[in-house]
């Protein structure tokens, strides 16, 4: 991994302080923050904080699914989220690009900043946010269109690629650019070899693992900065999983990757740092992956990662 180690910088602390000064929503959040952090406050932060989450609560109706989550996600690295089923990993992930807005009963309280800019501010442009923070889902969900159209879907919607009658009239046909983009994204997603000769086939004809890599390629095509992945390999066999894992490690050179996984070994293999959520929607420990798996601060986390609990 090529993360820039930046030991002198300690943005985890300084950032949090800055924020509590100007964030309006969490003037009283101090205590609860302390509680959840005590176990891992000595975590040494690496890299730039790409996303800073501060005292995030999520409710589904009256049910609280996440409580007081605070963490900084460093740039150009893989952050794994692990924890037992139903502890709120997906919920947390969906907060980072505001996909929770689409669930009517969900309400979010707290702050998430993308490079210092609050994403829960009024007048936020959801489209831009989701362009910058892409997402790959647990089960592959390619569009029922051709492989090519799946890749170029995002850029088309953002006006970066135009083909068809109008584009030709305007002398602006970006068919060539589309070809290049499709090839680049498919190569990046390690799918090019397998599908280069059938780009015009329906994407639903691909295997599950191929579909998932296509979804990753589709996400890369809009050139996001952060890629959120919710158990991207859970529906796949070991070989396809290995491909996705390699891919994630490679992506981290250019992107900030946050990945939810149920597979402890997977988290250990691919991630730079790991966040452990436990039942009740609380973040118990967040630290370097090695630390979490070899010598966690919290007994509960140790129990969980060694399989005694969860």
């Amino acid at each position: 991994m090529s993360n820039t180690q930046n030991a002198s910088h300690d943005p985890a602390e300084s950032n949090r302080d800055d924020r509590s000064a100007d964030a309006v929503t969490q003037t009283t959040a101090g205590e609860s923050q302390e509680e959840t952090q005590t176990e891992w406050t000595d975590y040494e932060f690496r890299g730039e904080p790409k996303l800073s989450v501060d005292d995030l609560d999520v409710y589904y109706g009256d049910e609280r699914a996440l409580q007081g989550i605070t963490m900084d996600i460093p740039e150009n690295s893989v952050t794994a989220l692990i924890g037992p089923s139903g502890c709120g990993k997906s919920t947390f992930l969906r907060c980072l690009n505001r996909m929770n807005d689409r669930i009517k009963s969900a309400s979010v309280d707290g702050s998430v900043e993308l490079e210092g800019e609050e994403i829960y501010q009024d007048g936020l442009d959801l489209v831009t946010l989701r362009k910058r923070v892409g997402m790959v889902f647990q089960s592959p969900n390619p569009f029922p269109k051709t492989i090519r159209d799946n890749i170029s879907y995002g850029p088309r919607k953002h006006g970066d690629i135009e083909t068809g009658l109008l584009a030709r009239l305007l002398g602006d046909d970006s068919g060539e650019r589309e070809e290049k983009l499709v090839e680049r994204c498919l190569k990046q997603a390690a799918l090019w070899e397998e599908v280069s000769d059938r780009l015009d086939d329906n994407a639903l004809g691909l295997s599950g693992g191929q579909q998932q890599r296509l979804c990753i390629a589709r996400c890369l095509a809009v050139d996001p900065e952060v890629i959120l992945m919710d158990e991207p390999a859970s529906a796949l066999d070991p070989i396809a999983t290995a491909k996705i894992e390699d891919l994630i490690e490679e992506l981290a050179e250019e992107y900030t990757v946050v990945v939810v996984t149920h597979n402890m070994q997977q988290a250990a293999r691919i991630s730079d740092q790991t966040a452990v959520f436990l039942t009740g929607g609380e973040l118990v420990e967040f630290d370097d992956t090695d630390k979490i798996f070899e010598n966690p601060e919290s007994q509960r986390v140790e129990d969980y990662v060694t399989g005694k609990f969860g």
Binding site: G134, F137, P144, G154, H158, L204
Partner: protein
């Protein structure tokens, strides 16, 4: 688990010894009911004996082998649903056959003299054309507005608006067609004469719009089912890479539900074709073609309004011609309904595959 339940073996839990006692009951029940039906068809006077016998068998069966009897009765109920359709088909064809025979193809199309009791000539051409024209107009109203309401209800409306618009569309379906007809007859027809200089009461355009309004709820509710059955994770895929809601609707949701929406439109067309009272009351029901053919301000008759306005004083070939109109209506609507169902079945398969 549930699949294994769908066999009838489990009934033996309750009646382990009843095995051989049940079949005579079922046979007797079936026979008496068939007798009742046949006698009603040919000698209505004696039907009552068969009905009583059937009731007797059913009551006996209920107390002795409840499950088998219930199952048998429900099976009969299922069969009789299909039987109703068979009877309708049979009687319509039976009664209309002489008209088709006598008129030949002229019943569908002829030049000039369409309808004359004196000459016993009954061509349905003007009524067919009237139905086509009103249905086109009605579809132009119902399809876009209905699909737009479906999109509104299932994709766009905030929950408060959803709670208002969805019941409102359903209620619109509840307004009886004669009420629409009454308003058309008393208000709109007069309005058209006063403001558009129409010379006679009733015009195709009014019927088309009113019938379109009546078909709108059908389109809206079937299309809404289709649109909301597009799985969320498919739409999420578009939203998560920064497509707007509208782009997602246009490029993911609507294409994925396209077949269902076409089925909705077809069913709406079926409603419009079969709509009777509004057309009967609003139109002048004159056996003539609009001049020129596409003159929507003209007056004419539709297949439905032809039947409703003339059955009362029709005899012989005249009546049979009305039955022929019924056959054409019935076949058209059946074709639309079956096509819509085939499309919907395909949708289910497709969406099932994509999950």
């Amino acid at each position: 688990m549930s699949n294994s339940l769908r066999t009838s073996d489990s009934s033996d839990i309750e009646n382990p010894t009843a095995g051989d006692g049940r079949s005579p009951v079922l046979v007797a029940g079936g026979a008496t009911l068939a007798g009742a039906l046949l006698s009603f068809l040919f000698v209505p006077g004696v039907t009552v004996f068969f009905v009583l016998a059937f009731l007797g068998v059913a009551v006996y069966g209920w107390f002795v082998h409840q499950e088998a009897t219930a199952k048998g009765l429900m099976f009969l109920a299922t069969i009789s649903t299909a039987l109703v359709l068979v009877l309708i088909t049979a009687y319509l064809f039976l009664r209309s056959f002489p008209a088709f025979e006598q008129m030949g193809l002229e019943i569908l199309y002829t030049n000039g003299d369409y309808w004359s009791r004196g000459d016993d000539r009954y061509s349905l051409y003007p009524a067919i054309w009237g139905t086509v024209l009103t249905t086109i107009l009605a579809t132009l109203v119902a399809a876009p507005l209905g699909v737009a309401s479906a999109i509104f209800i299932s994709e766009i409306a905030p929950s408060w608006a959803h709670e208002i618009v969805k019941p409102a569309v359903e209620t619109l379906a509840g307004i009886p067609s004669i009420v629409y007809g009454f308003i058309g007859f008393t208000i709109i027809n007069g309005y058209m004469m006063d403001n558009f200089g129409l010379t006679s009461s009733g015009s195709i355009v009014v019927v088309g719009v009113v019938v379109g309004l009546m078909a709108l709820p059908t389109v809206a509710s079937v299309a809404e089912d289709a649109i909301s059955s597009v799985p969320d994770h498919m739409k999420d895929g578009a939203v998560a890479i920064g497509a707007t809601e509208w782009q997602t609707i246009k490029s993911v949701t609507l294409p994925a539900s396209f077949s269902g929406i076409s089925a909705a439109v077809l069913l709406g067309v079926g409603r419009a074709v079969g709509e009777t009272m509004a057309a009967t009351v609003i139109l002048g029901n004159v056996m003539q073609l609009p001049e020129p053919l596409y003159n929507v301000f003209g007056n004419t008759v539709t297949l439905t309004s032809l039947i409703a306005s003339q059955y009362g004083n029709a005899h012989g070939l005249h009546m049979q011609a009305l039955f022929a109109a019924g056959v054409i209506l019935f076949l058209t609507v059946m074709a639309l309904s079956i096509t819509a169902q085939l499309i919907e079945a395909r949708v289910k398969q497709n969406l099932g595959g994509e999950l």
